[in-house]
């Protein structure tokens, strides 16, 4: 297979990794309500 096709596939893999990281990140904080220490301790 032409090397450029392999690199194109790797590029798509990178995009998939990037979107996966973001999706996991959004999911990880979805139910979180970021608050300051003061609000948290009340």
């Amino acid at each position: 297979m032409d090397a450029e096709y392999v690199w194109a596939l790797l590029g798509l893999l990178c995009l998939a990794l990037m979107f996966t990281m973001m999706a996991l990140g959004v999911r990880a904080v979805r139910d979180e309500q970021p608050v300051s220490r003061e609000e948290d301790e009340q």
Partner: protein
């Protein structure tokens, strides 16, 4: 009236207009916050306009057609999808960072609070290199446009453009930028509707298609290897650009919190149409065998000049001028923001008050402008090549930013070494075994032919950075308390009180 004189009159007239608008709102600037993030109360309309104005650059008008000329259909698709996806992807990050960092002004604030000193220092160096590189492309774009349409010497065009933009940005900062952005965006959008129609009516789409099929059939292909590589990697590079660039972070801090997602989404979708419109102009050059004395970067102005005559060329110039000016103004403000907020206020004089910071910021805007002229003067590389070179850095910073914003346990050592090794390896791949950096080329290692390539550099830097950041985090998680970011206010910087004049 000669072409040159006409060009000078047009640029002078618009230059006076932008400066007048910028100066008229400059008196609203009362603090460093106003200068950098415009009061933090920007709505959807102005917000979308300023994001569009920033992201529709000289590259969008000149490099999108260059990619259409080089890669054909896939080049235009890759460019359009890449830029649009990047802005859309930033929406969830922008929303989160606004919550985490209510007092934030720059992307540097995030790096300083989230990671350690070595990461902060490295990031500032990389960011300044990236921002100056981007400024370089805008300066070059201005010189190229004025030269190809009006025959004005490249260097004169470069200096005049930078001088006009610097004038209103220096005095009014983000407030001036926002005001001029709205007008410039309206002009830019006119490109989308006016010029492709005008050119294709003159050139006849059937003739263009048949010309392409006869002269360069590969450019019509949707399965060409180089085009597919471009389509896959450009979104990665552009997402890295948006994620690490201070112009987008400033806008995230400037927007009202409840409109962030909507604004970035609208801007991302709206942006896609611009490179499609400009990129397809290149196909006319391909299909008709048009000669390009200025090289691939000048394909758009050459096509417009050939098919719409003098009137069309003048109007096109005005529209590109608007795109360049708006991006250059955003960049100058962003670069001065990094210098004053992060470099000066953290390393030189942490006790500096607001008035001193404003003064320093204005001076540093001028310094950034002078640097832009100096590095653009020798006209290094094509615009697209420069973007891809800088893309090696952009791609390496995607994992640190995403992982840092969303995950508590990201290990800063993984981030640091991932960026360092990823960038070095990526640059070597970009340069086919050499560091190929604008004015010099340093041969380092012999790489096999299949391992080298410009776009391949960004793939390598992203993958190494991801493996290092994620891998190190999984092996040695390091807990971080996001509440420390939320709690941080400017009064915690020694000697600085919020709202201090």
């Amino acid at each position: 009236m000669s072409n040159q004189l006409l060009g000078i009159v047009v640029i002078a007239a618009f230059g006076v207009l932008w400066i007048a608008v910028g100066l008229s709102v400059a008196r609203r600037v009362r603090s460093t916050d106003d200068y950098l993030v415009g009061g933090r109360n920007v709505g959807v309309a102005l917000g979308s306009a300023t994001i569009l104005a920033t992201w529709v650059t000289g590259n969008t008008i000149l490099a999108a057609p260059e990619s259409g000329y080089t890669f054909g259909v896939l080049g235009v698709l890759g460019y359009a999808v890449g830029g649009g996806v990047a802005v859309l992807a930033f929406a969830p990050l922008a929303r989160r960072l606004r919550t985490l960092l209510p007092a934030g002004r720059t992307v540097g604030d995030f790096f300083r609070l989230r990671y350690d000193r070595k990461n902060y220092g490295l990031f500032l160096v990389m960011l300044i290199i990236w921002d100056l590189g981007w400024l370089l492309t805008q300066g070059m774009g201005a010189g190229i446009i004025l030269e190809s349409v009006f025959g004005i010497d490249f260097h004169v065009g470069l200096v005049v453009t930078v001088a006009i933009v610097t004038t209103y940005v220096t005095i009014g900062g983000m407030v001036s930028v926002l005001s001029t952005d709205f007008m410039q965006t309206m002009l830019i959008m006119a490109v989308v509707f006016l010029f492709p129609a005008w050119v294709y009516i003159s050139a006849n789409p059937v003739d263009v298609y048949q010309g392409m099929a006869g002269l360069a059939e590969a450019k019509l292909s949707l399965s060409a290897a180089d085009g597919l590589l471009f389509l896959a990697v450009i979104p990665l590079i552009y997402t890295g650009e948006v994620f690490m660039d201070n112009t987008f972070w400033q806008r995230a801090f400037a927007l009202r919190p409840n409109v962030i997602t909507r604004t970035f989404t609208l801007a991302g979708i709206g942006w896609v149409f611009v490179p499609i419109a400009t990129g397809t102009l290149a196909w006319v050059a391909v299909g008709t065998g048009l000669e390009l004395p200025g090289g691939p970067s000048s394909v758009a102005p050459e096509v417009v000049a050939a098919y719409t005559g003098r009137v069309g060329a003048v109007i096109f110039l005005v529209l590109i001028w608007a795109a360049l000016a708006s991006t250059m103004s955003a960049l100058l403000n962003a670069v001065s923001g990094i210098f004053m907020n992060d470099v000066y206020n953290n390393f030189v004089r942490p006790q500096a008050g607001d008035r001193e910071l404003l003064r320093v910021g204005r001076l540093l805007t001028i310094v950034a402008a002078v640097i832009t002229i100096v590095i653009a003067w020798p006209r290094p590389l094509t615009l697209l090549t420069l973007l891809i070179l800088l893309g090696v850095i952009n791609a390496a910073y995607i994992p640190p930013i995403v992982m840092g914003i969303f995950f508590r346990k990201t290990n800063p050592n993984g981030v640091f070494w991932g960026v360092v090794i990823g960038t070095v390896a990526g640059l070597l791949v970009f340069g086919d075994g050499a560091f190929d950096l604008l004015w010099l080329r340093l041969e380092v290692v012999d790489l096999p032919a299949w391992l080298g390539g410009e776009l391949q550099g960004a793939v390598v830097s992203f993958l190494i950075s991801t493996v290092a950041t994620v891998g190190w985090t999984l092996l040695r998680p390091r807990e971080f308390d996001f509440r420390s970011m939320i709690d941080w206010t400017r009064s915690e910087n020694a000697g600085i009180a919020e709202g201090k004049k």
